[in-house]
């Protein structure tokens, strides 16, 4: 393993900045992030990271293609997406300390820049150029991932739903909107849980936040409170 060359780093950083939009994006800043990693060559078919493993490192795809796969209920790997350079992957488990949610396999010869979890932990708390760029690049990448995952859910639901529910429902009942405010009793929690899949888990986050709120103290700066009160009076 070696460090990425200056030429490759420059080219990859420029392509990353073109692909992902984030405030203050600069290829020079991304180059600083890349300079902290090491280059690894991966032969065709080899797993770069495996579902269920702990996430101790994350990757920038310099050259080649990877397949992102997840096991279905029979244990068979199903391809979620095929990704090509430039891409950052394997960062989710590193960010939240959970296990890998997917397996990434080299689809042809691949070169990746590998950064360790300890490097990410340090950089995302920093106000350095590299720290700011890495934090925002990862946010932008997660926004894209969330959007793709939501699209995947929609595809499964509507593709499959069209082939099953329609055949079982020759007559469609009248429209009835989901409402949390109306007097009409509904199984709203269930609705929210299902819909949350399509909207990035808001309903689930709500449950988490309600728990957290009981445990935390709201520390709001006095100046912010005064500004707020003054606005209310006006």
């Amino acid at each position: 393993m070696s460090q990425i060359s200056t030429t490759d780093s420059d080219e990859l950083a420029k392509r990353i900045v073109t692909q992902h939009y984030f405030p203050g994006a600069s290829s020079v800043a991304i180059e600083r992030v890349l300079s902290k990693g090491v280059l690894r060559s991966v032969p065709n078919g080899e797993e770069i990271c495996s579902e269920g493993d702990p996430g101790n490192e994350f990757f920038f795809l310099l050259r080649g293609h990877i397949s992102v796969m997840r096991r279905d209920i029979t244990g068979t790997n199903r391809v979620l997406s095929n990704t090509t350079s430039p891409a950052v992957f394997g960062h989710m488990a590193v960010i939240d300390g959970s296990k890998r949610s997917a397996t990434c396999v080299a689809n042809g010869p691949v070169e990746v820049v590998v950064l360790q979890r300890s490097q990410l932990d340090r950089m995302i708390t920093e106000d350095s150029v590299a720290g700011i760029a890495l934090r925002r690049l990862l946010i932008a990448s997660l926004c894209d991932q969330l959007s793709s995952a939501n699209g995947f859910v929609r595809k499964i639901v509507f593709d499959h739903g069209n082939s099953t529910a329609e055949s079982q429902q020759p007559t469609k009942p009248p429209a009835r909107p989901v409402s949390r405010r109306g007097a009409e009793p509904t199984n709203t929690t269930e609705d929210l849980q299902t819909v949350s899949a399509m909207l990035g888990g808001w309903a689930n986050d709500l449950a988490d936040l309600e728990k957290v709120q009981g445990e935390v103290t709201l520390v709001m700066d006095e100046d912010m409170k005064r500004t707020n009160q003054a606005k209310k009076k006006r």
Binding site: T125, A140, C143, R176, G200, T217, N228, K232
Partner: protein, 165 residues
């Protein structure tokens, strides 16, 4: 607020100077679905409702509670439109997170705390959505044969979004 734990008062004061909190009365629409988007909101007080319009019908699909960020893709996508309408359900106070705030306050520890909070929130949302994909696979079966009963997730979602049950 827990996401600002450990952040100095000076940094919070600088944040409130760069982005003074803004209050909204109940019922006020903060974002409209389909509008161009350029800012995100961090909810400091109150509660917001999220609605989406499908086939001309507005459906409430979730709420935003204190400490949550909404509309972040406005800051991290090249161009975009609001995917949902957001209204104040109670008197609500929000911090408006703009691109200017992130650029001007990029060394402010309170801004860094907001970004770190956003990172973990997004990771959790992606993971949960992935879990829903697993549930759907389980529900639908890998052989993709039609299920004999219609009580599954796919049917529920389809019914909700088609306005029937």
């Amino acid at each position: 607020m827990y996401l600002f734990k450990g952040v100095s008062k000076e940094a919070l004061r600088a944040l409130s100077s760069l982005a003074p909190p803004v209050s909204f009365k109940p019922g006020v629409t903060l974002f409209n679905q389909g509008d161009p988007s350029d800012v995100a909101l961090l909810l400091l007080e109150g509660k917001l409702g999220v609605e989406i319009a499908i086939a001309g019908q507005h459906r409430e699909v979730g709420t935003i509670n204190v400490g949550e960020i909404v509309g972040e893709t406005a800051l991290f996508a090249r161009e975009g439109k609001r995917s949902a309408t957001v209204r104040a359900l109670q008197t609500s106070t929000c911090l408006i997170i703009s691109k200017d705030l992130l650029i001007e306050g990029n060394k402010n520890s309170a801004v860094i705390a907001i970004e770190r909070h956003l990172l973990s929130t997004l990771a959790r949302r992606v993971r949960r959505t992935n879990q829903e994909i697993n549930k759907l696979w389980k529900e639908l079966g890998v052989t993709e044969k039609p299920r004999p009963t219609g009580s599954g997730w796919a049917k529920k979602l389809k019914q909700i979004f088609q306005g029937s049950r």
